[in-house]
Amino acid sequence: MTVIEVQNLRKAYGDTVAVQDVSFTVESGEIFGILGPNGAGKTTTVESIAGLRSADSGTIRVLGRDPSDTSLRYEVGVQLQESGLPDRLTVREALDLYATFYPEPADWRALTRELGLGEKLATAYGKLSGGQKQRLSIALALIGSPKIAILDELTTGLDPQARRDTWDLIESVRDSGVTIVLVTHFMAEAERLCDRIAVIDHGRVVALDTPAGLIAGLDTEQRIRFRPSAPVDDALLTARPEVREVIRHGSQIEVVGTGNLLHAVTSVLAVNEIIAADLRIEQASLDDAFVQLTGRSTKE
């Protein structure tokens, strides 16, 4: 079932076109990633879905309704960048207040435990670290037991451990049937969490596929390195169409090629009864896919 439908969305601020032409659909129960470099139009896209901005043209349907329909606020939880709380409000007060906004709020005590905020309930918002603010922000997005959660730059500012904990939480939230739209520029996060990813660049969707699909679509080379148990003739390997080049590094062999390179190499070795020790594969990653699609590094 489709829960979000975006069709030919366009949004400009004065002369600056933030979103040129974006279309995609999000299916119930999936974690849908929106990936793109800074300024690509990701945030404008999700803000339009959340009903905070009105599109210049194109249509958006969320659970079959227009995003301006305020009844959606009960069913869509949103965590945005650049949104805060009064400095002197404590974590407990914030959660308790926001819980009253919804008819069937989640158990915020359990939520704070899962997010590692259990010790911070009496702390004022202004005294929280960046990562703790971020986790509170996630808790507030989930407190209304939403059907859809929109999370913008979910783990920005979190340390690696907190990031992993947050990923676990997001997966368990999805397992409870919530559809999640995740905006990120963090590849490991997208690769780990997302069922499908829309790559947005210059206000357009440049690719939409599963993480594996995006990587497989690359025509970059793979590299396999190993130490053979017996001498191998280069010609045996280069005879295979997948193999472009064989490079020797002392006792190690590096095979460069495309397609199903690993299968090609292992079958040659198997036929010759050679065992490959210290086998390493340098695979293309989502990072490589991203660079090829947008022409930009994510580390900028």
Binding site: L52, L80, S83, G84, R88, L89, L97, T100, G144
Partner: protein
């Protein structure tokens, strides 16, 4: 209604956690009455001010001071900070309209003003024998008109300033001339004729005149009431037109 009550309660808590603002709104006006009232000559009837005592005048001035603190100093700074920090933006993603938060902030300001005014009147009555407003309904009307007119100005400031800091600065810049015309330094009764005329058209001057007259038994005069309603209408409209949520 439950949500609005909770929001208002939250705003009250947050207000009380700002010790400086809470002091100036809740304690300072009463303190002013006590300090001025402890000057013996201020407790003697004076022919210059129509046989009233200086302390009699300063009770209504202290009430206006309360309203000015709340509406011109506190409200714009808080609301502009809420917008700057994305508090209103976050609220816009929930079922609760940011308008409710705005209402809760105004309700908090109204409650703080009522509490502080009650304290001023009680101390004036008990310690310095300043009679409570003889025209009580007139006093309430003058109080509400002054509160509404000044809050409209405060809201307009909150609407147009880019940050909480600027809101605070503009509030302070407005505060001194407005309080001057309300008679904080020289009561209206001893102002030169021309300053009295000008004061009649300022929000706090008009408010102080109406409150002071209610203390001695009159309904707010038409000019003061019209001036206050005018400020409410003009700045209220401008604030609604220009308010940005994020």
């Amino acid at each position: 209604m439950r949500i609005f009550a909770k929001l208002t309660l939250t705003e009250i808590r947050l207000f009380l956690r700002e010790p400086v603002a809470a002091f100036f709104v809740l304690v300072f006006p009463t303190l002013l009455v006590i300090i001025l009232g402890s000057i013996p000559s201020f407790r003697e009837p004076s022919a210059d001010i129509g046989g009233r005592r200086v302390i009699d005048l300063y009770v209504s001035i202290a009430v206006v001071l309360t309203l000015a603190m709340v509406a011109i100093q506190v409200a714009p700074a808080v609301l502009a900070t809420y917008r700057e920090r994305g508090v209103l933006r976050r609220l816009a993603t929930t079922p609760v309209s940011p308008l409710k938060m705005l209402g809760a902030q105004l309700a908090m300001n109204g409650i703080a003003a009522v509490v502080s005014t009650t304290l001023v009147l009680a101390v004036g009555r008990i310690v310095f024998d300043v009679r409570l407003a003889q025209q009580f309904a007139g006093f309430v009307l003058a109080f509400l008109l002054t509160l509404a007119g000044t809050l409209a100005i405060g809201l307009f400031v909150a609407a147009v300033v880019p940050s909480g800091k600027t809101g605070n600065a503009i509030g302070t810049v407005l505060f001194f001339p407005l309080m001057f015309f309300a008679g904080l330094w020289t009561p209206r009764e001893v102002m030169p004729e021309i300053l009295q005329r000008i004061a009649d058209f300022t929000p706090l001057g008009a408010g102080q005149r109406a409150l002071s007259e209610a203390m001695t038994g009159s309904w707010p005069n038409l000019l003061s009431a019209t001036v206050l309603v005018g400020y409410l209408a003009v700045f209220g409209f401008a604030a609604v037109r220009s308010f940005r949520w994020s």
